[in-house]
């Protein structure tokens, strides 16, 4: 049993929730371009990450009002492909922007980096910068900024370029940084925590399979449309 399964089981036991072992609970991008089986559940695991939950609350609760533009960026090493990054970031556009993507214009370079402009059906425009050219072993660098008539919001602090960490050590062994965000799941990385929390939320009935599958199909269409947009050099309208 891997450590995320172990953590999920511990959480389920604590809250007295049944685990349905037959289900294949995975982040949705893992099912991209594959036929879904009945037991496959394409999770939107990032929606369980507290920083995105809070950004969503800022827009859905009108803390920042009348959003005009989103500026997103997500950079990784080569072990993550652009489809994965688009799956995640396109869904975050919709989750945070409170709308559905209705058009895409994408430009990619060698399938290693790209810049996409998407538009939501509520009029919000979004820039999505993606790339997998960070050195091997690098942790993800991402940024999500919301620009509204009333207020700007972001998951990085003003006057900085990269996400902060909770602990920095400067020792004889070198410089290290740590970010721990969930004491119940202490020891897991932020991405692992997303995965466990989203599986837990599904098993507690807080997520609906039909809606997840529908969103998976929608996001898969968006990714394919982005590649077509780049290849054909044209904006793609999403029906």
């Amino acid at each position: 049993m891997n450590k995320t399964d172990e953590a999920l089981n511990k959480l389920l036991k604590k809250y007295d929730i049944n685990n349905d072992q037959s289900l294949n609970l995975l982040p949705g991008w893992k099912f991209f371009d594959k036929k879904l089986k009945d037991t496959d559940i394409p999770l939107l695991s990032w929606r369980s990450n507290r920083k995105y939950v809070e950004l969503n609350k800022l827009t859905s609760g009108n803390i920042v009002e009348h959003v005009c533009m989103l500026r997103f960026c997500c950079l990784t090493d080569k072990n993550t492909d652009l489809s994965t990054l688009m799956y995640r970031e396109f869904d975050l556009c919709e989750f945070i922007g409170q709308g559905k993507i209705c058009s895409i214009h994408a430009t990619f370079s060698d399938n290693r980096g790209g810049n996409v402009i998407v538009k939501l059906d509520n009029g919000i425009i979004c820039s999505v910068e993606i790339g997998n050219l960070l050195p091997d072993g690098s942790t993800m660098i991402d940024r999500h900024e919301i620009i509204a008539r009333r207020g700007v919001a972001s998951d990085i602090v003003v006057d900085t370029q990269i996400p902060q960490k909770s602990i920095y050590t400067y020792t004889e062994k070198g410089n290290f940084e740590y970010k721990d965000v969930d004491n119940e799941l202490y020891g897991l990385s932020e991405l692992e925590i997303e995965s466990v929390r989203s599986s837990f939320n599904y098993l507690t009935g807080k997520r609906d399979k039909t809606a997840l599958v529908k969103q998976h199909e929608h996001l898969s269409l968006l990714i394919k449309s982005a590649y077509i947009s780049d290849k054909d050099c044209k904006k793609i309208e999403i029906k």
Binding site: E54, V64, I167, T171, K173
Partner: protein, 359 residues
């Protein structure tokens, strides 16, 4: 496990609302009642959306619910001794707020009550259930810094006195009206009484005890409160580690009666940070960061929107375990006594203008 029937007393402590979700969600707890200290406190609770019976006195609540096994003692510091006596008499386990009392005679009585009644008493020092602190403890266990030389910590916040007025009343916060010094018109009971965490954490992380402390108060940022809001503390531990603490209320606030959006004037309303230097290197920690940030509703000011605030989950898990499995909480009255003594020593230092050695 049979769920523990639990209640909240008074509802006047600043941390009260932090417990609501945990008491509601934890399957090992059955939240059966609350007592409110005033009608206005009751009205705020009734608006919180939790459908738990609310009584206007502890006695009425205990009489109506004789099956209550444990309480969160969410009251002003001066109320604690009477509530300890009542709970000990009824055999009800206690989760005490971070300051049981500053009166060491009362403190000794509390220890005696707990010992004789056999109830569990856990002190709410929630930082022990913070994931960043968890990582720091692990790095210390791995000796990443080697021998610690210097320890600098902040526990700085806005002042809660407008929402929780007892925190600005010397008799209710400190327990007595005692001048800070012969020449100072202010009284004991302010910021330092609200911020014991760093005084506790240095003991955990360095595995040492206080040798001496020196404290200095500054002019108040809030000139219309009776208690101190700006101070600094330094000193040495018995193992030679020098330290400096800032436990001030140095972040200004809107004077809201009920905490809510727009409470803070400075973007980050609460900070617990550490800079720790050892022979092998340096560690810098922010226990409540990073977060997300905005300048929207209600005041269009740059504001930290916290992304993690769940220390109360782990805190209650430990309390449950101690009750059902007869364990002693790690932050118990005996352990916590030194932290209270050193805060009292800080007040003595302010009074005398000199360092105070701990016995």
């Amino acid at each position: 496990m049979k769920p523990i029937k639990i209640a909240i007393l008074s509802l006047t402590h600043g941390h009260t609302r932090k417990y609501f979700q945990t008491l509601n969600d934890n399957p090992n707890l059955e939240w059966v009642a609350v007592s409110a200290e005033s009608e206005s406190v009751r009205d705020v609770f009734l608006k919180s959306g939790y459908h738990v019976p609310c009584y206007m006195s502890d006695k009425e609540m205990f009489d109506k619910h004789p099956d209550i096994e444990a309480v969160v003692m969410a009251s002003a510091n001066y109320k604690h001794i009477d509530q300890f006596r009542e709970c000990a008499k009824r055999g009800i386990h206690i989760l005490s707020m971070k300051i049981p009392t500053f009166n060491m005679e009362e403190y000794a009585e509390m220890e005696d009550l707990i010992k004789k009644s056999g109830i569990v008493c856990q002190i709410e020092l929630e930082m022990h259930y913070n994931p960043v602190i968890n990582r720091m403890k692990q790095l210390f266990a791995n000796n990443e810094l080697g021998k610690v030389e210097s320890f600098n910590a902040t526990n700085i916040t806005l002042s809660p006195v407008w929402a929780f007025p007892w925190q600005g009343v010397p008799e209710e916060s400190y327990g007595k009206r005692i001048s800070l010094s012969a020449t100072d018109k202010r009284f004991r009971g302010g910021a330092i009484c609200d911020h014991p965490h760093i005084f506790d954490m240095i003991r955990w992380l360095t595995n040492s005890d206080y040798e001496y402390v020196y404290a200095e108060v500054g002019p108040n940022m809030r000139t219309d409160i009776e208690v101190e809001d700006i101070l600094l503390v330094n000193g040495k531990m018995k193992n030679g580690v020098s330290f400096l603490f800032d436990p001030s209320w140095s972040r200004l606030e809107e004077r809201l009666k009920v905490p809510g959006p727009g409470w803070e004037i400075f973007p980050k309303r609460m900070e617990v940070n550490f800079n720790i230097s050892g022979e092998k290197g340096v560690m810098m920690s922010d226990c409540f960061g990073p977060n997300v940030y905005h300048n929207g509703y209600p005041n269009d000011r740059y504001t930290v929107q916290y992304t993690y605030f769940d220390e109360w989950i782990g805190l209650m898990d430990e309390f449950i375990d101690c009750i059902r499995n007869h364990h002693v909480p790690k932050i118990n009255l005996e352990w916590h006594k030194r932290t209270i003594e050193v805060i009292n020593a800080c007040y003595e230092s302010i009074k005398t203008g000199q360092p105070v050695h701990l016995s």
